[in-house]
């Protein structure tokens, strides 16, 4: 057990270091601007005086490492500075949007994880059959389609031709839960279609890889039914790769929302990020990137820790 703890601790430490390096990259990228931030904001027509005033306002007269430490310290306390476009606090804009994005990702995960695992197990159970082949082609197709294509198809069929769902997911803070889920349904289905393929294929592959092992053959020779061989004997041993792929896809869900949020005009972090990129609003872009990257790294970390914990060979190393 002690070995596992040290393994997990090592992995967590590595994740922390990665996060630190990523924050340096996100901060440093803006420093790479030709000229500096003040010149980039004001454009070429600015007089030296206005540039100087802007520099002082942004605190650019101090050295980069000092500003980085300040920025990171602020970010850790939830203070990401002030937006350049509307002078409002970045954290104030980011907070509710981040909750919305998490909500969308959670609804999508609630659909996609059970469906894809069941489909993956079924595809492994009936492999090389019609069902398996159709599932294979269908998942390849949905993996290959851009998110906006799937999203617009859903809008066309489920909200324009048959007015069942709203095509614009305007979520507000005081909405009752069921209505909120209803409004989020179309973007959530789009995301589900995108991630389901990967998870299902990995589940299928993980189970099929196990089916050649002797203990599965033994179970089959005992005369157990096929579903029992897979559900009772193969599935528990395939958990490690499945946990891994689920966590990776959750990470993808959090970041893959950008396009879906734009299509459905969903008020989340992705939309804020794209808006700020077009406005070149650097503090907001940095904050959004940091939030996305942190979530991504955290979920990847969870995937690794999960696969360490679910693998007895890693739990009890020789």
């Amino acid at each position: 057990m002690k070995d596992v703890l040290s393994l997990v601790a090592k992995r967590l430490g590595l994740g922390f270091v990665t996060l630190l390096v990523v924050s340096i990259i996100i901060f440093g990228a803006v420093e790479l601007l030709p000229g500096d931030l003040a010149e980039a904001i004001l454009g070429q027509a600015a007089t030296p005086e206005t540039v100087k005033a802007m520099r002082e306002e942004l605190g650019l007269d101090r050295s980069a490492p000092v500003r980085y430490v300040e920025w990171l310290g602020g970010a850790l306390q939830g203070d990401f500075g002030v937006s350049l476009a509307n002078k409002r606090s970045v954290a104030e804009q980011l907070g509710p949007r981040f909750r919305n994005t998490l909500f969308l990702a959670a609804v999508a995960a609630a659909f996609s994880i059970p469906i894809s695992i069941v489909l993956g197990v079924l595809a492994a159970l009936y492999r090389e059959s019609v069902f398996d082949r159709i599932a294979n082609v269908a998942t390849l197709t949905s993996i290959s389609s851009p998110e906006f294509f799937l999203g617009y198809i859903l809008i066309l069929f489920l909200s324009v031709q048959n007015p069942w769902f709203p095509s614009i997911s305007s979520v507000t803070g005081d909405m009752p839960f069921t209505e909120r889920v209803f409004v989020t349904l179309l973007p959530a289905i789009t995301l589900t279609l995108v991630v389901i393929a990967h998870m299902m294929r990995m589940t299928r592959a993980a189970i099929i890889a196990l089916l050649a092992s002797p203990y599965i053959e033994m179970a089959r020779l005992k005369g157990e039914p096929r579903w029992k061989v897979i559900a009772v004997h193969a599935l528990p041993n395939a958990l490690a790769p499945i946990i891994n792929v689920v966590a990776l896809n959750l990470a993808y869900l959090i970041t893959g929302v950008v396009l879906v949020e734009i299509v459905f005009v969903y008020p989340g972090v992705g939309q804020l990020l794209v808006d700020s990129v077009t406005k070149r609003d650097f503090p907001v872009v940095q904050a959004c990137c940091l939030v996305f990257a942190a979530t991504y790294i955290l979920l990847n970390l969870l995937a690794d820790v999960g696969s360490i914990l679910s693998n007895p060979r890693l739990r009890h190393p020789k």
Binding site: T18, V21, V22, I25, I26, A29, V30, L32, L33, E128, S129, V130, I134, V137, L140, T141, I143, S144, S145, P146, E147, F148, F149, Y152, I153, I155, L156, V160, Q161, N162, S167, A251, Y252, T255, G256, V258, L259, I262, V263, L273, V274, S276, V277, T278, R280, F282, V285, Q286, C288, C289, F292, A293, Y296, I297, N300
Partner: protein, 353 residues
């Protein structure tokens, strides 16, 4: 019940019975479950739904037939060795090959095929389709059809260029890291780990904010972000090759690192790298389309599928399908490439299952 519904159900049931009679178990299962599904659709949505289902089934069989005849055509015309491989190819692969061929023709002969110029305004905005403009006009009154044809050239061309660049950088550094080992390997590995720790689309958005959005920057940024994945594969493949005896022999002969990489390692690493090229192309293509869709990639007036979807998206709320056509063009090409890559991976792995 209308005549259409009666004819449709009769055909479906007859086809299922035929399949059952000739003991084609799988075909029967597919056909009969389709029949049952269309019963349900007919009950739920009436005839309009049934027509959609019929069109979808018809399209599916048309694609399958096309793939079948194209495979047969290739098997008849190609030299014997390739023909043998072709004959055993799955239908999906020949379908993919056919689609890729169509795209290549469209891209190469775009000015000949397209009836109008790329940025030529010829009608009113959102003009309905007529014989002059096959798919109608876009938001500025340019011909949709011509722009889709030109889009094959621009979007696919830029994606190919980006993938090639990412490949050049990624595979060369990967092979170099594997051959040299030591601190070069370690440094490259850590840099790649960090680059991959940030979600690609988000990182691309950050970098594009800083360097500004134009085509050259787009190509460079995306190539930079996708080369780590190539690096990983190249490093892993080459890692297994550098421990071989013939590499040791070449080293003892006193060959230079460059010679080792180009003449000894690269030829043995081509197969996985080619398959990886196809896969990476799909991801790069999707990423560029996504950025163009967000208005941050390929800039107007260049015809590009991603931005075309965005520009005409308002039409969807009026029940028009035209904005979906460029999106479908993106999806179709990615699906086709994926099908072919799947087949190539299957071939190179030598798996029979």
């Amino acid at each position: 019940m209308s005549t259409f519904a009666i004819v449709f159900y009769t055909l479906m049931i007859a086809a299922s019975c035929l399949a059952a009679y000739y003991h084609r178990r799988e075909a029967f299962l597919v056909l009969f479950s389709l029949t049952l599904a269309s019963f349900l659709m007919g009950l739920l949505g009436g005839e309009s739904w049934l027509r959609t289902v019929a069109i979808a089934i018809g399209l599916f069989f048309a694609c399958a037939g096309l793939a079948y005849s194209f495979r047969e055509f290739l098997a008849q015309t190609l030299p014997r060795e390739t023909a043998k491989i072709m004959r055993n190819a799955p239908l999906t692969a020949s379908f993919g090959l056919f689609v890729i061929l169509v795209y290549v023709v469209a891209a190469v002969f775009a000015p000949v095929i397209a009836p109008h110029g790329e940025a030529e305004v010829i009608g009113s905005s959102y003009a309905p389709p007529d014989e002059n403009m096959l798919l109608g006009g876009d938001q500025l009154g340019r011909d949709m059809f011509s722009r889709i044809i030109y889009g094959a050239r621009n979007t696919v061309g830029i994606a190919l260029l980006t993938t090639a660049l990412a490949f050049l950088v990624g595979s060369l550094t990967g092979l170099m890291a594997a051959t040299l080992g030591g601190w070069v390997d370690q440094t490259c590995g850590r840099v790649v780990d960090t680059l991959m720790a940030i979600p690609q689309l988000v990182f691309a958005l950050l970098l594009l904010t800083i360097v500004g959005t134009n085509v050259v920057n787009l190509i460079l940024v995306i190539a930079l972000l996708y080369s780590p994945l190539v690096f990983r594969l190249a490093r892993a493949v080459a890692g297994n090759i550098v421990v071989m005896d013939y590499i040791e022999a070449a080293r003892l002969r006193g060959e230079k690192t460059w010679y080792l990489i180009i003449s000894e390692i690269l030829p043995n690493a081509t197969a996985p790298l080619v398959a990886e090229f196809g896969l990476r192309f799909c991801f790069v293509f999707l990423a560029i389309s996504a950025l163009s869709f967000l208005g941050l990639g390929i800039q107007p007036p260049t015809a590009d599928w991603g931005s075309m979807v965005r520009e005409n998206a308002t039409l969807i709320s009026f029940g028009e399908v035209t904005p979906l056509i460029p999106a479908a063009a993106i999806a179709l090409l990615t699906v086709a490439v994926n099908f072919v890559v799947d087949w190539m991976l299957h071939l190179s792995s030598g798996l029979k299952e």
